[in-house]
Each structure stands twice: as C-alpha cells, then as structure tokens.
Symmetry: C2
Subunit: 596 residues, 2 copies
C-alpha cells in the first residue's frame, strides 16, 4: 500500500513544490533543485515527504475516527471526514497554478483492484459471522442478485432516456447506460457497517446489509464486465440471456475457485507440519488467499467472489488446522490491512474529486443520476422485500406470520444503499467518447451518497426505531478482542492453555492434533457464539446455476431446508473428517456441535 | 508491497508476453492483443497474472524454507534458494528475445527504501532482546561504528589502488571508491540470523552479530551519503573530520527523532483512551512508527536509525500502555511484514542479476572486490576484537581474565559478514560515468557472499565448535509464540485474564490502568525473560556525541557502569512514571523488577 501512497504522494508533492511553499507550512521541504529524480538518494528524500504527508492524512482520519467514537458524535462519520481531508489536499493542489497539473493524483484503478480492495474483501470473508450469514442467505442473495440486477436496469434505463433527450449533448448507448447502472449499483460495505457496529444494530439487519453490500460488489463487477463485452456489438434481445448465462457461469466458477483454494490450504495445513513454524504459516495463508484473487481475475473470473469464498472456506475449515498463533495473527493482520485500505480509499476518493484533470462535470446529469439511484434502489428493495415476506409466509404456512423484513428494516436497507469506491474503480473502465463525463458523474454521485446517506444513517436508526445495543455493550469494538472474551470461564482458558501444551512436543505425533482442535474450537466458541451453525449451509449456487434460472434458484435456496440438512450431514460426515485434523467422534465430545 | 510486486511483475510479464508463451507453460496467458494498457479491465487481468507469478515465487521461497527447516538441511539456506528462484525467472526473461527488454524488472531503490526495508528494521527494533542488546552494547557499537568505518576505508583504498592501475579501463575517484566501500560494508541481518535462530546459537554471539548487522546498515547509509556530498568537491584532509562530524550529527539526531516519536506514542497512548479501540490503536502505532522513518529521511537524516530506535522505544515504553490485543497484533504484523519483505528482497536480487539491462560486468574487478571485502572484514573484526578483549581485561582488573570475545567468536563474526540488499540499494545511488560497472560489481559480490558465507555458516558453527541449542528446544521458532509460553504457570494466565477484565469497564476510570500493566508485564515476563534488565541502558551516544571523539565515546560506553546505574534510576524514577500508565510503587509489587 505504501507504494500507492508513494505514487500518489509524489505526484502531489511534485505539484505542490512547483509553486511557492506556503501551502504546506509545517514541513521543511527540500529545495526544488534537489528534486532531480535521476538521483535515487534525492528521489528518496522527495518521496519520503510525500509519504509523510499521506501518512499524516491517514493518521488524521484514524484519530478522527477515535474522537468521533469517543465523543459518540453521530452526525459526522469517519469516512465523510476522510473524504473531506482528501478534498482539502486535493483542492490545494487544484487551486495552485503550475506546470505539473497533468501529473497530479489520479485514482489508479489497477492499484485499487490489486492493492486496496483485496484486504477488505478477504477480511470480510474471514470475519463473516457464518451462522448469521448462512441463516439469512436467502434474503441476502435475493437483494444481492436480483436486487443489483433491478437497480442496474432501472438506473440504466433512466440514464439512457435522459441522455436520449439530448439536453446535455451527450448520447450514450444502452449498453453504456447499463454499465453506468452496474457501477452505481455496488453498495459500500464500509461506512454503513462501521455505524452499525458502533450502535450494535440487530444482527439480522446487520447481516442482511453486510451480505448484500459484499456480494453486491462482486455482482456489479461481473455485470459491468459482461456489459463491456457487448460494448461494440449490436445488442439483441438474445444478448440478455447470453449476459445472464455468462454472469451465472462467472459467479459459479469464481465461487468454486475460492472454495477450492480454501480447501487446498486446509489440506496443506492438515498434511504438513507447517503449523510448527507459525511465521511461515501466517505468510503462506495470506499469500495463498491472495493467489485466489489474482488467479481468478487472471482467468477473467471475479476475484472478489473467489476471495470472499476463499476467506469463508479458510475460516470454516483451514482455520481449525492452523496453529493458535496463526489463527490470531491472520485475524489481526487481515483486520489491520482492511482498516488501512478502507481509510485510504476514502482519502483517495476525496483527492480524486479535485485532482482528476480529465473530468467533465455535467451538473444536470449528476442531479438526475443522484435521483435515479434513489429510485433504482427503491425499485429493488421494496418489491423484493415484499417477495421475501410473501415467500416466508408461504413457507411458514401461517398467513398471519410476522414479516421476515418489517417496514423499518426495508427502509433501512434502502437507506444503506450508499455507493463506494468499487463503483469509482469500475467507472475507470468505461470506454467511449463520454468516458470523462460518466466518470465524473459516478465520482460525484458516490461522494454525495456517502456524505448524505452515511451522515444520516445514525439519525435514521433512531427515526425508524430500530433495535440497537443488541450485543452486550463492550469496551472493545472488536468481537475477537481477547481482552474481552464474552462467555469465557476461567476454567476453559485454563484447559485451553493446558491442551495447547502438546504443541511444544517435538515428536510430531498425530495424536497432538486433537487437543489443538479442542483448544481452537473452544476459544472460537468464546467469540463466535455458534459458528458451527454454519453447518446448515445450503448448497449455494453451484448446484443450481445451470438449472432452470434465477428465480427458481433463489426460491430453491430460500426453501432449502432439506438441502441444508443434506449439506450439514455431508459437511459433518465427509468434509470435516477429510479436511480437519480431527476425528468427528472426538469433536462432538467437545460440546462444539449444537444440535440443529 | 503488492504494488512493488505489481510493478516488477508487469515488467516481467510484458517482457515474457512479447515472445512466445512456451516459457511459462502452466498459466493461461491472455492474448497479447488484449494487453492494451489503456483499458483498466484488461490491464487488471494483465497485472493479475504478473502478481500471480510473483506470489508463486514467494510461496515457493516460503515452502522451501519450511522444508529446509523440517528436514534440518544445513547446506542450503532459504535466502540462497530465494535468490536462485529469482535468478531462474530472471534468466528466462534475459534469454528470451523481444522488444520489451528495456522495460524489464529493475531493482527500484525507491521501492526498496520505502516499502521493503522499513518493516524489516521496525521489526528488528521491536523484537530486539533489549537486555541482551544493551548488555553487549559496547561490543556492538565497537564493531558497528569503527568496524564499518575500517571496513569501508580498507575496501575503498584497495579499490582505488586497483582501478588506478588501469587494468580494466575504469578510473574512479577516491571518494567514489569509498562510496563503494561503504555500500559493501553493510552486512545483512537476515540470512545469518535465521540460521542462528534455527541452531539456537549462544545468545551473546547472536546479539553481537544481530546488533552489528543492524547498526551497520544505518552507518553505511550515513557514510555513503556523506561520501556522496563530497562527490564533486575536492577532498581535503579536513574533509575527513568534516565527514566524521557530519556522521556523528546525523546519527545522533536520527536517534533522537526515533526515541522522541516513540515517546510521543507512549504519551499519546497514556493520555487518551485509544486503547479502547484496539483496531485503531494498532493502525496508529504502525503508521506513526513509519512516520519516524519518512520524517527522518525527509530531513536528510537516517531513517533506519530513527526507525530502529523508535521500535526500541515503542517496545520499552509504549508497549505497556497498549491494549493486550494491540501488543499481540503489532508483534505479529511487524513479523509478517518483515518476513515477506525479506523473502521478496532476495527473490528480487536474483531477478535483478539477470534483468538489469545497463549492468557492465568486469570479471577482474568482481574478483578483486570479493577478495577485498574478506580482507576489509578481517581488518575490522580481528583488531577490534583484540581491542575489546584488552578493554575488558583492563576493566575487570584481572589480566588473566577470559576473553570477552574468544577466537572462535571472532572467526564467526568474520564469517557472518555477508552482504545484503541494503548494499545493492545504496549502490543504485552511485553517480558518475562508472555507475553501471560499480553497480554490477556490488550486485554480484552481494549474491556471491550470500551464497558462499550463507551456505557455509551452519558448517562453520560446527567447525568452530560454537555452543548451539542454548535456549530450551521448542517446537516453535518464535519466542513470542503464545502456544508455548516458557515460564508460564496456569495461575498467572488465570490472574492475567482476571486482571484484564476491568478493561470492559466502560467508565474509563484511571484505576483500571494498573491491572492492565500487571497483565502486560506478566505476559511479557513469560516471553522476554528479563526485559526490564534493559534498565541498565547506558546513556547511549547522544550524551557523548559532541564529546571528545569516537574512541572515547566507545570507551565511555564500554566502561559506563556508573552511568548505566544513573540511567537506570533516571528511567525508573522519572521516565517510567511519566511515560507509563502506572505508579512505580505498584509496579515493583508485581515482581517485574529484578534487582540489578
């Protein structure tokens, strides 16, 4: 990440230094004549200041986050401030005259996709509360797949109609309009969830919005790329089905790649003694997880989907084969990298708003787009919520059953539809003559939604009277914080320590594995409540992808009680014995399995 | 780091793809016509494969490391294999014809200094066994400061004389020769220490070599930069004193910057409640530590010295003000980043050997330089060891006392003088018409020393009959491994857990701090033996830097028994109460203080 900083910072400083130095008064900047880049030593000093300033921005963002949380300020959110700091620095750069204007900071989509995004996705998959996620999988997939699809189409149609009116002398094809629709359908998981975390919002609502925004990104990326494939072609009605088929194929294959790599790691950890060298182990887990992302992207598949499911698989299987040190190390490292990436993305978005030189701002288009994304989100959330409620009532067999998603949840899901950096990064890939206009529109709309919706989420929670403070209030903001184990009894910690002793046994006998699993799973119980309820995972999309189509797939999943039991027993009896370093009979004695 | 990978990998792949695809047969590479970089989507796929291949190289290096450790193979070392893997890929790139040859991987010194080096230095400072380090500080400084100086001068003189003979039509100034001498006097801490770790070599020898190689880097960087300042000037005899003065000033100021930033972090953690948000806390500690590096470099000081002492100060003070989660997180994260950087540096060195296009290899010069570095190391190690032994005998007042550094230790210190990536990165900054020749020489010599000395270190330990297996053999290679606490009694873990409970107290009363210190210090005792023996830190260089000169400085430190007591009580009675979140009277009750 620091090279991204380096790159951005250099451009920034080059620009700043070309003019008088009044604007950055608190740092001693070397003389301009020393900034000859041909000499590595001077170049190093030059880039040091650039990095220094960018790290200061990040530190400011993190401090703001701390103060906002400490003072329990609701109106302003950390991400809004990050954007704001970025904008100030961007504005300074913009206002200053000088001949380096072309070199100023640009939002480099390659850095975004290869450096900043993977940690966030990997951490999401790894931190996922699997039980909650899979319990609400039906609803999540409902919003993520048809929801994103509806949103993109509605937005695409509105934009296409608006531009066809010719009021602003831009005229884009329907496929391009749909591309923009896809980029603006990726909702941002960062802001909203950090607010939800702070308020301990009802886990169900949290999980639905979390899951949706996560899969959302993957799906809008796949949709966007599918649209781009039709960019220069004549679009037929059959293209629609071709697109849907392509989409399902990409989603399925990416998912399989991720799961497969996760399983490979689990087997590798099971059948080698790498866990005796926890430093190497941690590095390998991190690197191989990244490989799933790059491999999948390289194969024209969706790296996000692969990495997300690789993270989930790692946590479900490989995690229990790791040494305790690696379990902790990977959690913390993924969290830290994700946190830094998130903050940096928003700083960078703010910067880009003023420093992207090629942008063409069309105010009317921006206003229309902002209104349309509200409309398209509305069109996605409310009908699909009703469908979900209807399906739920049908399944329960009780026509008077309470709504699966009550009205205030629907409203909150609607409100949570702020757009994030993935949209901007995707918009960099828009082709054609109106590239700069569309990119500018997407950028402004993203920043607007973050400021508007992000800033009002906390108030909205109160207005809608949504249950907050659901988890016992804790001093720590982190459910894995070992300072504050939630259900821990001192005896379990004790036994945990004792059980883990066999690790210092040098003989490497197979018998030592079993206690380790105990200790791992026990500690995990402390923090993950009922992580093994994951056992009711339905078979997901792969089994249905080539089946009768989207709606029936979703319905199958929603109504997949039998299937989930099938998967549960398959997981218990086949997968876990093969993948984990433990005999299932031993495992059930640990009390880890809660009866379903 | 991944952007460095990205950069290197792109160049690599661009080169590889310009030719037929036979050489990388196991990956499906997209068609060349898709590699138009103007489209971010295609660019992303392009860079994905590049990153994939580079991560595979890293994974291979780590796996090799595991297998070598597992099979207890002595002859080959991990770093040698990393270089070897890099060389294979570099060779493939080199052998292939094609028009992208100019764009191939180069060893980018800016990436090296800003991305790869800081984690290694920070981790070294943070992991430093402070008690051992400060106990042997006299010897370490003796080898690090006059040792590096002697080594650089001897090497510089030999090179100057050799090139003056005119046998290879290169003719460099004395200052340039001295620059090369300085680059080749930076010994590498990575390879030798991982071998020493594996064999549990006598802690004293370990500490001396570790400390020397660490300070070495800083000192040769400062020396190199001092030389470069005289590059275009006429060198007088007075320049020598000017240089020494400059050097001491840079060293002192850098050290102060690092210590100051460490103290700022300690105070910040003490006087805020950031520890309640451990995720933010970990990020801030990492970012602010990095700031010391960039700030110091930006001020034309030595970032390495600042970062090293910032790490040491963080560990000595700030560490005890952190939440337990941050203590663990920072340790693991610094370790992981350092490990990845180390491996990548060696892969990259191997690559550079074949892919640097501008290199001019002069075989005779390379042979002469290789012989000279052995001579110069000899000239530094053996006389200084005798001086140390003599000073030690004088101090002990017993003329028949055992040698402080016996002969086999001297031989091992000599043997440990393999050169590392810092030298290569510095050599990138050499100016003048013989830049390419000198860089090529440094690169080859570095790789040669790593292969020769690194490969034979294990054997040398046996030949010299040096005590190994000194720490109780443990399954883990990490002294901080929480799987294997060394002195832990279950009751202390229990009390630890209990003491840390007040953290979940939401009132933020000051009283909660004290138990936290207890828990931190207790856990620390488990792993760090007698970390507080650090209290016998002598006042280091700052107090002496402007004093009567180098030799007396070193002698003062060696004979600073009184001073160390002065600093110890100052640290105990003034610094710790101010910087730590604890009342000293409480602290002494915890039994943490061992009487000195």
């Amino acid at each position: 990440m620091s090279s991204l900083l380096l790159f951005a910072g250099k451009q920034l400083l080059k620009r700043a230094l070309s003019d008088d130095e009044n604007e950055i008064p608190d740092v001693t900047i070397p003389d301009s004549d020393e900034l000859d880049e041909s000499n590595p030593v001077t170049e190093e000093i030059f880039s040091s200041w650039a990095l220094f300033i960018l790290l200061v921005l990040l530190i400011m963002a993190l401090f703001s986050s701390y103060f906002l949380q400490q003072k329990r300020i609701q109106a302003v959110h950390e991400t809004v401030l990050s954007i704001f700091y970025g904008m100030i620095v961007g504005l300074i750069i913009r206002v200053l005259p000088g001949h380096y204007i072309q070199d100023t900071v640009t939002f480099n989509s390659s850095y975004f996709f290869n450096v900043l995004l993977p940690p966030i996705i990997l951490n999401s998959g790894y931190e996922l509360h699997q039980a909650n996620f899979f319990r609400n999988l039906g609803t999540i997939l409902m919003f993520a797949i048809p929801g994103t699809f509806i949103s993109a189409c509605v937005l695409g149609v509105i934009l296409y109609v608006w531009t066809s009116l010719g009021l602003e002398s831009i005229n884009i094809s329907f496929v391009d309009a749909l591309s923009v629709g896809a980029t603006l359908s990726a909702t941002d998981p960062v802001t909203i969830l950090s607010i939800f975390n702070a308020y301990k919002v009802d886990p169900k609502l949290y999980t639905i919005i979390f899951g949706e925004s996560l899969l959302n990104d993957a799906i809008s990326i796949v949709m966007f790329e599918t649209c781009q494939k039709f960019h220069d072609k004549e679009a037929h009605f059959s293209s629609f089905f071709e697109g849907v088929g392509l989409f399902l194929m990409i989603f399925t294959i990416s998912l399989l790649i991720g799961v497969l790599i996760g399983i490979i790691v689990a087997l590798m950890l099971k059948h080698t003694h790498i866990r005796r060298y926890p430093q190497i182990e941690s590095c390998l887990v991190l690197l191989i997880a990244y490989e799933s992302y790059f491999f999948s992207n390289g194969c024209h598949m969706s790296g996000i989907v692969s990495l997300l499911f690789c993270g989930i698989t790692l946590k479900h299987y490989a995690y229990y084969n790791m040494s305790r040190r690696t379990q902790i190390a990977t959690k913390y490292i993924f969290q830290l990298l994700a946190r830094l990436s998130e903050n940096f993305i928003f700083v960078y978005l703010g910067l880009a708003l003023f420093t992207e030189v090629e942008l063409v701002y069309k105010p009317m288009l921006i206003i229309v787009t902002t209104i349309s994304i509200c409309l398209s989100r509305w069109a996605a959330v409310f009908p699909l919520s009703r469908l979900t409620n209807w399906v739920h009532r049908k399944r329960s067999g009780n026509p008077g059953a309470a709504d699966e998603i009550p009205y205030q949840y629907q409203m909150m899901i609607f409100w949570a539809g702020l757009r994030g950096a993935v949209g901007v990064a995707l918009a960099m890939g828009i082709q054609g003559e109106f590239k700069s206009t569309l990119l500018a529109t997407v950028l402004v709309v993203v920043v607007l939604t973050v400021i508007l919706f992000g800033g009002t989420t906390a108030g909205m929670l109160e207005v809608l009277n949504i249950r907050t403070g659901c988890v016992a209030e804790d001093d720590s903001d982190d459910e894995f914080d070992i300072e504050a184990p939630k259900i821990v009894t001192t005896s379990s910690v004790l036994s945990n320590r004792q059980f883990s002793r066999p690790y210092s046994d040098n003989t490497g006998s197979r018998s030592r594995q079993s206690p380790n699993f105990n200790s791992a799973s026990q500690e995990d119980l402390l923090v993950d409540d009922d992580a093994t309820n994951l056992d009711d995972i339905p078979p997901l999309v792969p089994n249905d992808a080539n089946g009768p189509g989207l709606v029936s797939t979703v319905q199958n999943i929603i109504t997949s009680d039998d299937r989930s039991k099938w998967f549960q027993s398959f997981d218990e009896q086949v997968l876990k014995p093969v993948l984990l370093d433990i005999d299932p009979s031993t495992k059930s004695k640990t009390g880890k399995d809660s009866p379903n």
